[in-house]
């Protein structure tokens, strides 16, 4: 019974969310916030494999997200919709609902192989130098997409909404919400299994002393390869989901700013803590959304107090002042992040009865 408690709880939560969005109890805005929380959980926990557990400093996570997003979107649009570039659909649009998980997997797989782009240099390079390589990889990916006019170039790529509508035509359910939740649970499940096995703990050994790891029999190159591939593959999955939620993607949304967001979430949560990554992704998304409402209040309040001139308005751009400021304060007062390298069960031992985190 206790072993089943987590799957049971997740199933209940899952059905409650689906039911609530079906009956209109939660509106589209709240649904989209929930979906972005899911996407961010995938992004932060997958980046945590490389930056937290393995101790590297990869700052190009958005590149793999972009690859996943573009591969999945192009596949779906090519297969199931009439597009001015790809022509008439190859398969009837009713098939989209069945092929959707396969397309998501395809996006993740291609992104995983793209992960080799940084995994192979990482055999010899560490630290700052690897950070530069990952940033370069991010630029390579975005500028390649910008220069491919067949897939929209800098203007972006769209048509994914049609896929979502095609799925809803067959069975009327909030499909994107369903797939985001499945994707999130899958990612966390996969990462936990990876880092809790002796196999995966090899990357923690690399973090703590790479030379000792290699000398004590850990195949460090293979470990780095698998860690980077799992990490970027899951980022690709997140990208594929992201593209279908928005229905429109452009290379600009996968730039260095997006990668930085992923980094902020990892360091906010704590390096090498899976529960930390999940918590920080939730907090970060809620914070971003919360600021949407809070900034106008601050604006109104300051105007009312006559502290700022009438002509000046505190706009949403201030979000990008407040968030980095939080990061600065975090690094100053709690550099190890919310959870450090602990899991929830280390802080609340009673949870261990229900769920083995490590």
């Amino acid at each position: 019974m206790q072993r089943l408690s987590i799957p049971l709880m997740l199933t209940l939560l899952f059905s409650a969310l689906i039911a609530a969005s079906q009956t209109g109890l939660i509106d589209l805005y709240i649904q989209s916030v929930i979906m972005f929380i899911g996407i961010n959980i995938i992004l932060s926990s997958s980046l945590n494999i490389v930056n937290g557990y393995m101790g590297e400093f990869a700052c190009g996570h958005a590149a793999f997200m972009a690859i996943g997003a573009y591969v999945a979107s192009i596949l779906n649009v090519w297969l199931f919709t009439k597009d001015k570039f790809f022509g008439s659909p190859l398969l009837p649009p009713e098939m989209a609902i069945y092929c959707f998980p396969l397309v998501l997997m395809a996006g993740g797989t291609v992104a995983a192989f793209a992960g080799m782009l940084v995994a192979i240099p990482s055999f010899k390079t560490r630290g700052d130098y690897l950070a530069i390589i990952t940033i370069a990889a991010n630029f390579i990916v975005t500028s390649t997409i910008i220069n491919m006019s067949a897939i929209g170039g800098a203007r972006g790529f769209m048509g994914m909404k049609k896929i979502v509508f095609a799925m809803e035509d067959v069975v009327d359910l909030p499909w994107m919400l369903i797939w985001v939740i499945i994707g999130t649970v899958f990612s966390v499940w996969l990462i936990r299994r990876y880092v809790s096995s002796t196999y995966g703990k090899g990357i923690i050994a690399i973090h703590q002393d790479e030379i000792a790891a290699e000398i004590m029999g850990v195949n460090t190159n293979r470990m780095k390869l698998t860690a980077f591939m799992i990490s970027s593959g899951l980022a690709g999955l997140a990208g594929a989901l992201f593209a279908h939620i928005l229905g429109y993607i452009n290379p600009g949304s996968f730039g260095i700013l997006k990668s930085t967001e992923c980094l902020v979430m990892v360091y906010l949560g704590g390096m090498g803590s899976l529960s930390g990554s999940v918590i920080s992704a939730i907090l970060f998304t809620l914070l971003l959304e919360g600021l949407r409402f809070v900034i106008p209040w601050i604006d109104a309040g300051l105007h009312w107090l006559n502290l700022i001139p009438d002509a000046y308005e505190i706009s949403q751009v201030w979000k990008w002042v407040i968030i980095p400021l939080i990061l600065v304060l975090l690094m100053q007062f709690r550099p190890e992040g919310i959870m450090g390298n602990k899991e929830l069960s280390d802080i609340f031992p009673r949870l261990r009865k229900w769920y083995q985190f490590k």
Binding site: L190, R193, Y194, S197, T198, Y199, G200, K201, G202, I204, A205, Q208, D209, I211, A212, A213, E214, I215, M216, G217, V218, N219, T220, N221, T226, N341
Partner: protein, 255 residues
């Protein structure tokens, strides 16, 4: 067939010749010492043997097979374990995990098994747990299993590092200055421990050591190098009275 056969081993770092024409042979269960003044090239020999450097010239054969050019983890998998001069345990994971991760070369399961938690993975993890606990128990370290190495006394950390090396069931154990930084009581314990390991596990042990008490007591054969050149070898008695060795350590009295 010799267990380890090193012949004509030479290592240059740029223009510096760290080691020249070094040869040694292990038949199976010797306890041999490698001594020499600071900077003589002792650790270079170990780094070459464990695959951390690729030699400029010469050959290293382990169990009849040349191991030159193999990666360190492959050499470890063949049965060469080592410890480090400055202890290199993974300090942020428990002693037990330190030993479990050292079983990486013999996990017997793949990434797929780990992710899918197949029966192969279960058996592999069980075997790893059993090996780790066995080795900790045999060295009387089992009550430290859950501790982080950084919180343990220095002497115990040394012992844990030796346990970690032994856990891979080596046929050749390289100990790089095991007595460095230990007090005299710990050194007596260490001498007994190394003797016990040698008797119990029936493996060849090759150690670098500065503490003459340890070397003279344990080793049956000693090799002395200075500036990368072998200057003497023999039994402890012969080495102690060798004029070249005395000169290397104490200097020449002609000014």
């Amino acid at each position: 067939m010799a267990l380890l056969e090193i012949s004509g081993l030479t290592q240059n770092f740029g223009g510096l010749c760290a080691l020249s024409d070094f040869s040694i042979r292990f038949n199976g269960d010797e306890l041999t010492g490698l001594i020499g003044p600071n900077g003589a090239g002792k650790t270079t020999v170990f780094n070459l043997t464990s695959g951390f450097y690729t030699p400029s010239a010469g050959d290293i054969r382990f169990k009849g097979r040349s191991i030159v050019g193999l990666r360190p983890h492959q050499i470890t998998g063949m049965g060469v374990a080592r410890t480090f001069q400055n202890i290199r345990l993974w300090n942020d994971m428990s002693v037990l995990d330190n030993i479990r991760i050292s079983q990486h070369y013999s996990m017997g399961y793949s990434l797929w098994d780990a992710l899918m938690r197949t029966a192969v993975h279960g058996r592999g993890e069980q075997r790893i747990d059993r090996t780790a606990m066995e080795i900790l128990e045999s060295l009387n370290l089992s009550h430290y299993a859950a501790e982080l190495p950084r919180n343990l006394p220095y002497g115990i950390q040394r012992k844990v590092e030796i346990a970690r090396a032994l856990s891979i069931k080596p046929s050749l154990l390289l100990l790089d200055e095991p007595a460095a930084g230990l007090n005299s009581a710990d050194i007596q314990g260490l001498i007994q421990l190394i003797q016990w390991i040698h008797d119990t596990f029936d493996i060849a042990i090759w150690m670098i050591e500065h503490q003459m008490a340890v070397v003279m007591k344990l080793c049956s054969w000693i090799k002395v190098i200075d500036f990368g050149v072998t200057i003497a070898e023999g039994t402890p008695g012969e080495i102690q009275n060798n004029p070249d060795v005395i000169k290397a350590y104490l200097g020449d009295d002609t000014i």
